[in-house]
């Protein structure tokens, strides 16, 4: 059976799956040694999971499609998940490639190839939905590629800038 280490809002929980669903649809898990019964709808994608019931507590949920956060009536909490059986940490997201998070128009480019940038530093302005949106450097480094110029429109996920 699977064992996972869940870090949620900075707190760690070891979760072990211990039983397949009973006739009522509840699944048994052990969380830090404690037995819990959980019901969850069967959904194709994570972000369509709308609810869960843990013992007698219902939850209305939004779960990020990449499981980086979970949102409930208690707010939105960061998640990190580690599979203890395969002993592989899921890779931290974000390399040095800056892609277009939405389709839009490049309003300004604030960096040049060869320039050193710090994580969080604005590198370009993308105009979309009548707004100017700053895109920032995902990490410290040196700009190795700039694929776009001002006035150019870009598609979703188009590679804009690379930081080496």
């Amino acid at each position: 059976m699977s064992r996972l280490l869940i870090t949620i809002a900075g707190h760690e929980f070891e979760v072990e799956l211990i039983a397949s669903p009973d006739s009522d649809g509840f699944i048994g898990v052990r969380v830090n040694g404690e037995l819990l019964r959980i019901a969850l709808p069967l959904e194709r994608t994570l972000d369509t999971i709308e609810w869960a019931i843990v013992e007698s507590h219902p939850y209305v949920l939004r779960i990020d499609h990449d499981l980086r956060w979970i949102e409930s009536a208690y707010g939105r909490h960061r998640l990190q998940i580690r599979d203890l059986d395969v002993a592989v940490v899921r890779p931290a997201s974000g390399d040095g490639r800056v892609k277009a998070p939405i389709p839009g128009l490049i309003a300004r480019v604030l960096v040049e190839v060869g320039q050193r940038v710090a994580a969080g530093q604005p590198i370009l302005i993308l105009e979309a939905m009548k707004m100017q949106n700053e895109l920032v450097a995902p990490r410290d480094g040196q700009v190795t590629t700039v694929n776009i110029r001002p006035g150019q429109s870009v598609l979703l996920n188009e590679l804009l800038v690379e930081i080496g």
Binding site: I8, V15, V31, I38, A39, E43, V54, H77, E127, A128
Partner: protein, 495 residues
């Protein structure tokens, strides 16, 4: 009364206008850019014409041509787009088609914000202190000189303005030019006009709005007041009516100023007179919004007045239905502006296909939206997705109900600012009603309260199970009842 109304707008406000027209039995003509072809505002209209010119919804000539072609006798421009375009209003008037608005004369006067403040000041009313003229972002030296005269902190505002974009605070001379550059760029993106002006900031202060109605006979009434101090990313996201924390004498005074200003400009239709109120309760006129606003919903709830209906009646030359004493303001209302954006990632707009879409219901809750499950949030337009408004007999009851309604809304498939709004409504400064425009500096997303330990444990367990389900390790068996709806059938044998 009019026979046929052209809706020169899109999205939520176009839907809103179509609804009132149907309530009044006026037929409607929608326009759409190709990307809005199947949009709700098109479906709810009686006729619909595609806009083919490059400027689309912003093209006064094509809008007027469609109006003439379809035989419309009145045009409602909504907010944004051509709603404050003096040339458009004049062209409509010249073509014999009534434009819904304050009249092209008053519109021209209030559109020049610096000039409007000067005129109100000259009439003996308190105003904010604006720069002597407007500036382009390149006017660095002149800007710095003017700023020194006005004194810091300063508000940088877009001349084309409206809808909050392009407004920002410069607290020192070091900030000024960067703030101006950013404001101007935002205004350019939103309104195609990068001119800005300065205003001496009053801090802390509240931003108080007085919505008014004026008819062609010179009758003017107000519909109470609203507090629009709570902004995020330079936009009003929560507005309430009545404004909390105004003494009844200060409230009465601000209403009277609003009526005087409305008469000064001979405003017609639905307009809003906006003020900055300092910590002692004194008010200072800052600008006129010469059109319906997103926040008018909150006024509709406490007055039971359908503002769009009144706009149409006034444009038709009818006198106001109510005198000031017949405006009954009852209870309290809170308005939340739900945007398709991600407050956790710099308010990045979030277009896409809406997945789940569940709205709150029950007594005294209203949601106006163009969206539904399966609808597309287009990338080309403003991120306003839905307007939530909640009414209650008291402010306390209204806050509680707003929190309930916010828990009920579920919008999936795209990111929204709902979680941010939930934090605002639950925040101690909001609950106490003591907030000011400085609330925008509270970093709501940084210090989230933790749930009780057991609930955090449950969420961890849910996340684990969701992960396992997703990675195919486990499939929760759906009980038979889920799929067939016919579980444990032996129970159902006759008793």
């Amino acid at each position: 009364m009019f026979k046929k109304l052209l809706i020169a707008n899109r999205g939520e406000i176009a839907v809103r206008i179509a609804r009132t027209c149907r309530d009044l039995g006026i037929s409607t003509v929608a326009v759409y850019e190709v990307g809005d072809m199947g949009a709700l505002h098109v479906r709810l209209a009686d006729e619909a014409f595609m806009l083919t010119s490059a400027q689309g919804y912003r093209d006064p000539r094509e809008l007027l041509a469609v109006a003439q072609r379809s035989g419309a006798d009145v045009i409602h421009p909504g907010y944004g787009l051509v709603s404050e375009d003096v040339g458009f209003e004049q062209a409509c008037e010249a073509a014999g088609i009534t434009p819904i608005g304050p009249g092209s004369g008053p519109l021209a006067q209030v559109r020049d914000r610096v000039e409007a403040i000067t005129r109100v000041g000259a009439a003996g009313l308190p105003t904010t202190q604006p720069s002597s003229r407007s500036f382009a972002p390149e006017d660095g030296a002149a800007l710095l000189a003017e700023a020194d005269q006005l004194g810091y902190p300063l508000v940088v505002k877009s001349c084309a303005g409206g809808r909050g974009r392009g407004t920002a605070i410069a607290r020192t001379a070091d900030d000024l030019l960067a703030v101006v550059r950013r404001s101007s760029a935002q205004a350019q993106a939103a309104y195609r006009d990068g001119q800005i002006y300065l205003e001496a900031a009053i801090l802390p202060s509240r931003y108080i709005e007085v919505p008014i109605l004026g008819d062609v006979f010179g009758n003017v009434i107000h519909m109470g007041d609203r507090d629009g101090s709570i902004q995020r990313n330079t936009r009003k996201v929560v507005t309430e009516a009545p404004a909390p924390g105004l003494s009844s004498s200060d409230r009465e005074a601000i209403w009277q100023s609003a009526l005087t200003i409305a008469r000064l400009f001979a405003l017609r239709g639905a307009c809003t007179i906006e003020f900055v109120v300092d910590s002692t309760g004194r008010h200072f006129f800052t600008e006129v919004k010469p059109r319906i606003q997103v926040e008018h919903l909150v006024t509709e709830m406490i007055s039971r007045i359908d503002v769009v209906r009144e706009q149409i009646r006034i444009a038709a030359g009818l006198p106001l239905e109510r005198s000031q004493d017949q405006v009954y303001l009852e209870g309290h209302a809170i308005f939340c502006r739900v945007n398709a954006e991600d407050p956790w990632h710099g308010y990045l707009p979030s277009p896409g296909r809406i997945g789940s879409f569940q709205l709150p219901g029950g007594p005294n809750v209203r949601v106006d939206t163009y969206a539904y499950a399966g609808a597309e949030v287009p990338v080309r337009y403003d991120s306003l997705l839905a307007k939530l408004v909640v009414w209650g007999a008291t402010r306390e009851e209204t806050i509680q109900r707003t929190q309930r309604a916010l828990q009920e809304i579920r919008i999936g498939g795209i990111q929204t600012n709902l979680s941010l709004i939930r934090l605002i409504i639950a925040h101690a400064e909001f609950v106490s009603g003591s907030y000011t425009t400085e609330f925008s500096r509270v970093r709501l997303l940084d210090a989230l309260p933790l749930p009780p330990a057991e609930r955090l444990r449950d969420l961890a367990a849910i996340a684990a199970l969701a992960f396992l389900q997703h990675t195919q390790t486990v499939h929760p068996a759906i009980p038979q009842a889920y799929t067939s709806g016919w579980h444990r059938e032996s129970r159902r044998l006759p008793d």
